[in-house]
Assembly symmetry: D2
């Protein structure tokens, strides 16, 4: 008999993730406070529940995909107090990107109530969610992460185990902070080259084969025209939006402030993305940081 998954949060990410679970043979009971999202999910075979309590009833897995830590803490602990309604047999898998502190609180409070919870923030964006090619960066007890693989695999191409509670969130924001840094650095280097008469395709080719090489220059080039399929060559539409990068860089800075760590480039990256966000770039792909270094049209 099919195992049951409660899926909480059916937005841009959650809906296609849940759909991939349906395809893999799970029975999925979904909930989202936005009626339109709930109806759209129902159209894809996801069970329509009228409350999170209804959704988690008797579930083998409870998967959540929410926009921020406050939403996660309200749902499970402070407002809906869902931890009181989840069955002992359920494994809770929170896929939201939230602070390590919030995530530790969820996993800790679940444990106190005799429940099992892990964190599994993702990278790969909407397109990864649709294709079932997300990366999950998991934290929590390793035995729980092992059990979660059954439900994570249909949604992913990579499952990482970062360590105990909070480690998955921390690893994700370390990765994304570094992504922001080499994306901005790549944009600066390509512009410096272009302003001095270099062909940015030639420069991309040289850097890609040299010590400057990084994921941004090689796979997601921010200079328009260098890679026809990249957002840069499509007016920076789609992809990973500037406002979402701002959220992750804010989490990185809060983490750094609490652990008394110093990240001068990471801090500057947050501020540059913040300026772009304020000055009209909020919904563009994050490679649009290139525009900050070019004359306005």
């Amino acid at each position: 008999m099919a195992k049951t998954v409660a899926f909480l949060g059916l937005g841009h990410m959650g809906a296609p993730m849940a759909t991939n679970l349906i395809k893999a043979g799970f029975k999925v009971n979904g909930f989202d406070p936005v009626t339109e999202l709930l109806n759209a999910a129902a159209a894809k075979g996801i069970g329509k529940c009228s409350s999170p309590q209804e959704a988690v009833n008797n579930a083998d897995f409870v998967v959540s995909m929410l926009p921020n830590g406050a939403a996660v803490e309200c749902l499970y602990i402070d407002t809906d107090k869902l931890l009181d309604d989840i069955s002992y047999k359920s494994l809770i898998i929170d896929c939201s990107t939230i602070s390590a502190a919030s995530s530790k609180r969820l996993i800790h409070d679940a444990k106190i109530k005799g429940l099992h919870a892990i964190e599994a923030p993702v990278s790969g964006g909407v397109s990864g969610a649709e294709k079932g090619s997300l990366s999950f960066i998991c934290g929590g007890a390793s035995s729980d992460v092992d059990k979660a693989k059954e439900v994570l695999e249909p949604m992913s191409s990579n499952i990482f185990y970062a360590g105990s509670a909070g480690a998955g969130q921390t690893a994700k924001i370390c990765n994304n902070m570094l992504l922001a840094i080499h994306m901005i650095g790549t944009a600066e280097a390509l512009q410096l080259g272009a302003d001095n008469g270099l062909d940015t395709k030639v420069l991309t080719d040289i850097i890609s084969k040299s010590s400057g090489c990084n994921w941004s220059v090689q796979n997601y080039n921010p200079y328009p025209g260098v890679m026809p399929e990249a957002p840069a060559s499509n007016n920076y539409a789609g992809g990973f939006m500037v406002k979402l990068m701002c959220k992750d860089l804010g989490l990185a800075q809060e983490t750094a402030s609490q652990s008394k760590s110093y990240t001068p480039l990471g801090s500057l990256a947050r501020n540059l993305y913040g300026i772009l966000n304020l000055r009209g770039g909020s919904d563009l792909d994050f490679s649009s940081i290139q525009k900050l270094f070019q004359e306005a049209d």
Copy 2:
């Protein structure tokens, strides 16, 4: 009959480069104002000349490897005026890392006198010079660069053509600026992880397979112990010294200032490497930027 190369500048880089030309069958006439370097080179089969004028006499190629732009301009134009002594049949290949402006001046002044010159700054360091595995990033007339390959190939594993005069220098400093940026960013991310309890080997593994991936984290990891063979695991000895990275980042900022380009991360990278350079890290490998983010011993 063997072709003749005049090799000017027989320091840490120049001496092993010239030695590889000897091995490849060239006749090499060398000059360096430091007698010890000249004698050491002679012991490896390099002809010992008492002046740069003697060295360039009747050479097929004139290769120079000097510490900075002032040295190059003094040698060829302002003091030694060597352009007046070089034969029309010679091809000048300047391998020094200098400003695009200095390099353009050399190539332009050579042309006015009916000579041919290209720039071919290298990456790969002393070890690349010894192994004959340097990358040359060439600028100048493409026909001249093609002719230079005969002499560059025995010293290299990669020969890039960046564009006209100055383009090779610009491409190199764009690459090295980006290298500095992702090295610092990698050090920040690994320290942020470590300060929050992550295992830096696990974090390196996750980032290397994710969007944060870059040459530094993958090939030259700055956190001690992650890669046994990296300078970081050997007290940051050897490799590419902080003071040399400072030189390249200074060139990048001068270029940016002249072309009115803006490189906030590149500028901050220069300043962070500068602080490390002033505070005792001058002769360490450049991955020692990691120390800036850790408590002093």
Copy 3:
């Protein structure tokens, strides 16, 4: 008859502040969990209480001076639950520098219990505490701040009213962030001048009469020898320690992250002070940032 003040926290700041209240004619009942501090305070006429509960009993004013927000929240709300023991006639004045969020929580929870509380973080350091020349930057109900003046005046030369709960904390960290920025900027400018052969006294004089003028260059010059009485001319001893500036800059960054404000120079200032803090400067005066721009001895 003398009014009574409960004084909680008798460290470097609290002890001399309480002593000034004694001098002004108040009866002061003190508490500190560190016995040595309690005894030292008693020697100056401060009543020795064995618990915070004993200290606040029947007090007209409750003044607290604690190291961080966690300490304040534990004392009043979460652990000692002191709000349950404070009389309705008491006015609570928290002088600790903590986040606006923590401060709002205290003032809000006090109000719910029918009590009155304000925040009154200070600037002026240990020397200001001893001389009774602190600045208080107050937040809360203006009528409460007016009532607090009776007890603040003997300790201060300036009492500012910034606005409602949290505004005092925010104004203080805005001021201190700006102080850090112009201190670092002053150190950079003086070093740039010195490195180019200028006399730093002459440069200080020019800047002080020009548009670069700021409190640091004029009153607290970071270059050794320019002002004989400044910490810079006394090996950076005394004054406002680097580790305390780091704390304030961390609060500024947390505030900025929560309000989605962008402060690129403030963020960089936090990181530069953090590097100095890690690399041996923790207990020096904050003007020692000058050392970061000079060769190590």
Copy 4:
């Protein structure tokens, strides 16, 4: 009999400066390659010369006010070779803001030809030029600077002597770099306060009386509405334009690069002003950096 001044460069700054010399009783012979500027100056009593050579003929003082170092070097040395035409009795006063290197070259080359030259870059902008209230920051032989006072005084309210050749230029860019830093810092602090609900007038008042005080917050407040007469309250019109601040910050970075000085906040200031310059703020007053931290309209 009136002394004669040759005035070279009659733009926004030069024309009103020359006019003040006329008012002070000097005979002024002017030259500018732009005919309109020459005619406008003639209308104010400035003698109209058809070449710089004609202007300097028999002058007691030669004053130049040009846009950059290349213009100064072309005029005096490389193209017009004006040093060959200037009388031994003349004192050359170059008021242009240029690199210390260019300025040293002019003063040095003049000396070799038996002439006397000083640098006297100004601050105070167009309004200071009109009112005769500029500050001159002089470098060169002190006896020459003393002689120059006769002609500088009618144009100024402050004459500083910074030291030997180049010192005046260096002191000016140190001052202006620091001005940029505290202007940006002030904008960040005021925005952080405003985003957290503070009244920016109240915050300005608190900071102006505290350790955060600086020339920008007190005399040239960048937040609209705080000071009715400041450019910020007049749509950032007039004043000291962003593009001119960019020029000065570029000179500061070139100087820092050459002297191997490190100025992390100064470098970031250059980049932030550069972004504003590229993104539409070029002709606004430099206090418009405030806009970078606010949502676009």
